[in-house]
């Protein structure tokens, strides 16, 4: 499938993500991100045609947050959608915004992801993941140690140190990102000493609950070229969900959703060597154990290779393949915004505007992922230039439809002819309603009986 129109990201904004924001209400938090995005884009609200709003269902205790937030999101008298797909929400609104612009329905769409977690209760939102009727399968949020245990069973303590090293890397990156929530000064030993949640998952491996919002403006290629900000092109994206439950132990038979999603996206875009062709990866990492595990799935690497790359620090900002220069989800997690922040940060890296946590080389392609529920996966590829991207589809409906339909058209005409006398009969029926209707019913019934 190809696009009707090219789409570019033309503005990126985020609030400062923090654990405690008593100074603002929800609409004010959203406004911080919207103002930041408008300022970044050099556009005004008049340029925005539509707002796509996303957050986690039941997390804040207000009904239809997209409407409450009109006070702060600039949605007054604009078209709008609310999208909520759990953890992937932020990535889904990015995909939806891309689709809305590519389709030609809107020229400029602003995606807004939001969560003010301290106002609500995560457990309230997530409790009903497990089926209260049947206690069906294993359903939790992102807190599970089962994948980590697989690694420990295979590599022993070496895997634990690798997960700890990735957590320290995230902290080091987050300290270079003024908008990150947790900007901790950690050692691997600190991680290993932190409270155990579910072996081998420890408190410091896990993402926090943050208050934050993110806004990303998508525009059609034609407009993007005229707008003040450097465009970041949306190359392609994929959404996939294959698992009904989390990994429960034992050997894995099928590849995880993430691997299948990556393989399909790479096939669609012609990427053969992701490590070489992608410059930076902003991954939705709910815990450092999953960062460790999913690197292999997304980048199509075996575990041993991933482990060695972690040990050689190759996923650091200055490393061979930078992952989560922003500090990732383990540093910042306003859930409805989290996956959109991945797209936003990937976009900043492509533009070269990430500031202190900018990867110190030219980024031609960046990848962003979203995670939710049981490995629900969204992957998006962003690109600096249009080179190598599929040309947009030029609509030629008349030519494409001609040859065969000629014959079909004749048969259609014939059908219409057959139909016409019936129409006439119907019209006659109307002239004397009661009698004829009875006749018609009678005929129909007789037909059925035969």
């Amino acid at each position: 499938m190809s696009k009707n129109r090219q789409v570019a990201i033309v503005g990126i904004g985020q609030s400062k993500h923090r654990g405690h924001r008593p100074d603002i209400n929800q609409a004010e938090l959203v406004r911080e991100a919207v103002e930041d995005a408008l300022q970044d884009s050099g556009l005004s609200l008049k340029d925005i045609d539509c707002i796509v709003h996303g957050d986690m269902e039941l997390f804040e205790g207000i009904h239809q947050p997209d409407m409450w937030h009109t006070l702060g999101d600039g949605g007054f008298l604009k078209s709008g959608f609310r999208i909520t797909t759990g953890g992937t929400t932020g990535a889904t609104i990015a995909c939806a915004s891309d689709n809305l612009v590519a389709s030609g329905y809107y020229d400029v769409v602003m995606a807004i992801g939001f969560e003010k977690q301290e106002e609500g209760h995560t457990t309230t939102g997530i409790t009903n993941m497990a089926d209260p009727l049947w206690m069906r399968e294993i359903q939790t949020g992102a807190i599970t140690g089962s994948t980590g245990l697989e690694w420990v069973n295979e590599f022993g303590e070496r895997a634990e140190w690798a997960a700890a090293k990735l957590r320290v890397m995230a902290a080091d990156n987050a300290r270079r990102n003024p908008k990150a929530h947790l900007r901790l000064n950690l050692t691997e030993q600190d991680v290993m000493n932190s409270r155990l949640l579910a072996y081998p998952l420890r408190l410091l491996h896990m993402c926090p609950e943050s208050n934050g919002a993110c806004a990303v403006i998508f525009a059609t290629g034609e407009k993007a070229k005229k707008f003040p900000q450097k465009p970041v092109w949306v190359w392609d994206h994929i959404t996939m969900h294959r698992e009904e439950t989390f990994y429960r132990g034992g050997p894995r038979k099928d590849p995880l959703t993430q691997e299948v999603a990556a393989r399909r996206l790479f096939a669609k875009t012609g990427i053969k060597n992701p490590l070489k062709e992608i410059g930076v990866f902003e991954m939705y990492d709910p815990s450092s154990w999953w960062l460790l595990d999913w690197l292999g799935n997304f980048l199509l690497l075996d575990r041993k290779t991933v482990l060695e790359m972690v040990e050689k620090n190759e996923f650091a900002i200055e490393g061979k393949f930078p992952v989560n220069p922003s500090g990732g989800v383990v540093s910042t997690n306003p859930i409805g915004a989290t996956a959109l922040i991945r797209v936003a940060e990937a976009g900043l890296q492509v533009r070269g505007d990430a500031g202190e946590h900018q990867v110190p080389r030219n980024i031609e392609v960046a990848m962003a992922s979203g995670f939710g529920g049981t490995f629900w996966t969204v992957l998006m590829l962003l690109k600096k230039s249009l080179d190598g991207m599929k040309p947009v589809k030029v609509a030629t409906p008349a030519k494409a439809a001609k040859p065969k339909p000629k014959a079909k058209a004749k048969s259609k005409k014939a059908k219409v002819k057959r139909g016409k006398p019936k129409m006439k009969v119907k019209i006659k029926v109307r002239k004397s309603k009661p009698a004829r209707i009875k006749v018609k019913k009678g005929k129909a019934k007789a037909g059925r009986r035969k």
């Binding site: 603002i24 209400n25 609409a27 702060g72 609500g120 409790t127």
Partner: protein, 151 residues
């Protein structure tokens, strides 16, 4: 019907909903003025000049920040109302009572609040009302105990 005769079963839900709603720094100024000075404040958009109550730090129509406060009321007029006759645990007072939409003097938006000291049958749109403040105020919208017909 006995449990044995049932043919469709269900299990009760167990959701806990401990939500908190933040007024923020801007909205809290309104609550503090209400608590400490028994004053009702409106906030004024620097662009369109509209005065809002309850407070909002952003004019959603002009999309500009609001920083100016003006004292409004305390008298106002009933714009619309309804009589609440059923009892629910979350209601602020015992029914029957009147909930009214009140346009305070100097405001461009309406405040929903209780209307009391009046027979519900006597409440009329356009009626002039004034606030009765609570004796022990706690920085909540119920620091205005209710509105009553203006003397």
């Amino acid at each position: 019907m006995s449990e044995q005769d049932k043919w469709c079963y269900e299990v009760p839900g167990k959701l806990e909903v401990p939500y908190r709603y933040f007024a923020g720094e801007f909205g809290s100024k309104f609550l503090v003025a209400l608590r400490d000075q028994a004053k009702i404040l409106g906030c004024k958009c620097p662009k369109c000049g509209k005065v809002f109550i309850p407070p909002r730090s952003n004019c959603e129509q002009c999309f500009v920040k609001i920083t100016d406060w003006v004292e409004i009321g305390p008298k106002g007029k009933v714009v619309s109302f309804c009589v609440v006759r059923y009892k629910e645990p979350y209601l602020p007072v015992e029914p029957p009572f009147v909930m009214a939409l009140i346009r305070l003097k100097g405001a461009d938006s309406d405040l929903t609040h209780l209307l009391s000291e009046v027979d519900p049958a006597q409440v009329k749109i356009g009626m002039e009302v004034e606030p009765v403040f609570s004796d022990s105020r706690k920085a909540s919208i119920l620091d205005i105990k209710y509105f009553k017909p203006a003397v």
